[in-house]
Amino acid sequence: MPDVHIGMDPPPGSFLFFLQARAAFTDNDEFVTLRDDLAEHVYGKRGEYLAPYL
């Protein structure tokens, strides 16, 4: 997937819009970052979050 760098947001429905949306949707690095952030977030409040399950 090519990186799309453009100065302004493309109009919805345009080819660049689809390209950017697809790139954002299939971003594996973002997935890893999100999961790591969530793991960090959960770990910080693990006592509160795990309480109903223990």
Binding site: D37, L38, A39, V42, Y49, L50
Partner: protein, 510 residues
């Protein structure tokens, strides 16, 4: 073959032109020769056509085939006198009360028999009773036919118990053919009438509520859980057997569902062949196309995790799905304690969708048993209709779920309202939108939205091993959790006041 009938020669339609006297004898001779040749050819053609048609009839056994429609002819079997009025009286006496008497069965039994609470049943009945098929009609002899309530009860029994069309004849007094039509008409009606209201994409308000609730359950930005299940297709044609053969060697179709913490179904995709795995089904999912096009999910719902603000919400999935930011799965091989805790919580929240399949199959046994429909569109229609009924029930009841009651009570306590836990009218969760949880009530994760804990046994293709974390669901509202024969959360129905019962049409002479 019988004797060939003599060929009859018809006169020409237009008179032939007058002939000259000199050539009269020659022309007569030629005409006689031509006539004899025509007669021979015609006789041969007639004999051949008779022989061919006789052979064809003998080959296909046409002489013994019944005609498709015979109409009112002597010897045709008369309709059975089923006593429609007697059947209607029994139904009313059992569930609605007749002649000033209390109904025989209470609310709990009503819901166990029809798998929907009375308020939902009566709403459907009120909407459907004047329909052209459902209202009572008179046949050609002037005899009154079945009542709308009888037809609706028969259709609900088929949905509820997955029984054959003939089974309810002894109670509702309707023929097998009529009950089959009733079921198909009811599925059509539910799809056309209620789908825009009960099976649609969530609005931004609803998404915001879901995200706030998910944040209270440790996962900010989550807008539901996504998973697949299978429904066995017994009536699958042999020609399609290979295509619809699942990995468990059964012919199935796939259901892909997105639900929230209240088990409200927000999206449903049915009909993919059972041989497809989760990723193949996802590739056909219209919602997935919308995601690829950037039209879903909405980008104007920001949330913050670990100090970073993001705009793309996500669904919880299992490890089979793509590693995309919109499908959040757990760590395949957790190495640290942090990752193990995250996996535990992710699986605990994601089990909502696993519970959904348990609730659906426990409630509507048509989904529990192999489908007898012969076409995929009929199965799609049936699944959607049952999802709509399920959503109608959740909409009626979600304010009474234990998790929502806790949230409401906590919110009231925090705001200084001083209301007790029973102040359900202040719950503010009904109407299709869950109230934003203002307390960090992670208890929502373990609460059972519909009184059915976990998988509900073997319900076709739902691997209970996928329900991670070993977290037991808490049965709510005194309902027996996940009873195979017990509908969902019925304990909460009886006392839910303010229900105005629909007035049913009076019986003649009753």
């Amino acid at each position: 073959m019988g004797p060939i009938p003599p060929f009859r020669r018809y006169a020409a339609a237009s008179p032939s032109p007058p002939s000259t006297p000199n050539s009269a004898s020659d022309e007569e001779a030629n005409a006689d020769e031509n006539a004899s040749a025509d007669e021979t050819v015609a006789a041969v053609l007639v004999a051949r056509s008779v022989a061919v048609s006789t052979a064809l009839r003998a080959r296909i056994g046409g002489a013994h085939l019944p005609r498709a429609y015979v109409g009112s002819v002597p010897g045709r079997r008369a309709n059975r006198d089923r006593d429609f009025e007697g059947g209607m009286r029994r139904i009313m006496a059992d569930f609605l009360g007749l002649d000033g008497n209390e109904p025989v069965y209470d609310e709990a039994t009503f819901e166990r028999r029809f798998r929907v609470p009375r308020v939902v049943f009566e709403r459907i009945f009120a909407d459907i009773k004047d329909g052209p098929f459902w209202r009572q009609t008179f046949n050609a002899t002037g005899r009154p036919q079945a009542y709308a309530l009888q037809k609706l009860v028969a259709a609900f029994r088929v949905l509820a118990f997955g029984e054959t069309y003939d089974r309810a004849d002894e109670y509702v007094r309707l023929s097998k053919a009529t009950i089959e039509i009733c079921v198909k008409k009811l599925l059509d009606f539910l799809n056309t009438r209620y789908q825009p209201e009960y099976l649609r994409q969530p609005t931004k308000t609803e998404l915001t509520a879901i995200m706030e609730r998910s944040a209270a359950r440790s996962l900010p930005g989550c807008i539901g859980s996504l998973d697949c299940s299978h429904w066995e297709w017994r009536g699958c044609p042999k020609a399609l057997a290979g295509q619809y053969m699942s990995r468990k060697k059964r012919r199935t179709i796939v259901l892909e569902t997105i639900c929230d913490h209240d088990l409200y179904i927000h999206n449903l995709f049915v009909g993919a062949p059972g041989s497809h795995n989760d990723l193949n089904v996802l590739g056909q999912y219209p919602l997935y196309m919308d995601m690829m096009d950037g039209t879903w999910p909405p980008k104007d719902l920001p949330y913050t995790v670990n100090g970073r603000t993001r705009t793309m919400p996500y669904y919880l999935t299992d490890k089979a799905y793509h590693k995309y930011p919109v499908f959040l799965s757990c760590y395949a091989k957790p190495a640290t304690r942090k990752q193990r805790i995250f996996n535990r919580l992710q699986e605990a929240v994601r089990k909502d969708v696993e519970r959904l399949y348990g609730v659906l199959t426990s409630r509507f046994h048509m989904l529990l048993r192999p489908s007898r429909f012969t076409t995929v569109p009929q199965m799609i229609k049936a699944v959607k209709a049952m999802a709509i009924l399920h959503n109608m029930i959740v909409s009626e009841r979600r304010g009474y779920f234990l998790c929502n009651r806790r949230v409401s009570a906590a919110a009231m306590a925090r705001d200084g309202g001083g209301r007790s836990d029973d102040g359900m009218e202040s719950g503010g969760v009904g109407g299709g939108v869950a109230s934003p949880p203002t307390l960090g009530s992670a208890a929502a994760g373990g609460d059972d939205a519909a009184g059915c804990g976990g998988g509900g046994g073997d319900h076709g293709g739902i691997g209970s091993d996928e329900v991670g974390g070993g977290v037991a669901a808490t049965p709510t509202l005194g309902s027996a959790a996940a009873g195979g024969d017990d509908p969902v959360g019925r304990g909460g129905c009886a006392g839910h006041g303010g229900v105005v019962h629909t007035q049913l049409e009076p019986l003649p002479g009753g």
